[in-house]
């Protein structure tokens, strides 16, 4: 079983019994998109909601507005069918609640932007584990579209 690690701002894809893992999601949002029948999936580790002033074009995985289309494209390139795509997301926490008001925290903005761009790209959201004040590890088992999320000191949760 090949485990592929997805770092901040990156996008990776895997097939069959491939496993995609991202560790240390704080305010970032992990996005998994997969085609269960074809057994292909991809994951993005989104850093911020939107690129500004044309920055970030070289790293589309960093921003929700560029990452979602790029992730859709990458999973299609790997053999997925757009019409069969489903998504699950995790992250968007606020680790420093004392410093950032809940209404304008980066994590929540990231979650909102990711959801908006999934909708714009017609990918239905099948599961989520978002916000709160704890970091997360997110694992996508491509074969069956199962996503497991874990925070420190907590039991793994399946979404």
């Amino acid at each position: 079983m090949a485990e592929i690690f997805v770092n901040m701002g990156q996008i990776e894809v895997a097939r069959a019994d491939g496993v995609l893992v991202t560790v240390g999601l704080g305010s970032c949002v992990g996005v998994a998109i997969y085609d269960r029948e074809r057994m292909v999936g991809g994951m993005a580790h989104v850093f911020l909601a939107a690129s500004k002033d044309g920055k970030g074009i070289t790293q589309p995985g960093k921003f929700a507005d560029t990452a979602i289309p790029a992730l859709v494209e990458a999973v299609m390139q790997a053999g997925g069918r757009r019409s069969a795509f489903q998504a699950k997301i995790a992250g968007g926490a606020n680790l420093f609640p004392k410093l950032q008001a809940a209404s304008l925290n980066v994590g929540r903005q990231n979650v909102m932007a990711v959801k908006e761009h999934l909708q714009l790209n017609n990918v239905p959201l099948r599961g989520e584990d978002v916000e709160g004040n704890s970091g997360r590890k997110m694992t996508l088992y491509v074969k069956d579209g199962i996503v497991v999320v874990q925070s420190i000191g907590d039991k793994p949760r399946e979404i």
Partner: protein, 205 residues
Amino acid sequence: MDDSQQLTPQQLDLLRELGNIGAGNATSALSMMLQDRKLEMVVPEVAILSLPETTTLIGGPEAIVAGIYIAVSGDVDGHMAFLIPEGSAKELVGSMLGEESAKFDEMGCSVLEEVGNIVITSYLNAISEMTGLMIMPSVPGLAIDMAGAIWSSILAGAEILDDFITVIKTDFASEGKQIAGHIMLIPGKAGFGKFFKILLGTDRG
């Protein structure tokens, strides 16, 4: 094109010097809080890295660390983080409270937050004295979590959009390595220019 990619060797030296002065003062403050326990400071490193590459600075994203974060404003902008591995953080709390087994309960967390606050403000005070710039720290924020989660939250809160991020990192450790950690300064866009103007304008012999 990104400004931070174009730093000259002289500018890199200046940033290292800032790290030296700041972290020197910060580690001596920490040493004093630990009843004059000896702390070794490693020569500061100026790292210019892409976002994913920065996780190498913190010893991998999954390790559990205590992170204290302070935003910097005033004449210069920037962000500061004091990151210590879980074991070091427990040792630190234990030795501050004079207890054998330290916990991250309310007391433990408030000790960590205050230690981080003093370490970071000592760093900033030294830089402020050296440059004559007014530097204002925010209130500290504390998180005990995966290093990657803390680090990425700090960078995201800093709204870093550039492809490359400049980090001035100084490592320190106690003699037996029971307490070790990193002090990071991420200068903001306005910060760079002002530092260089003042430091390069000074006759440094």
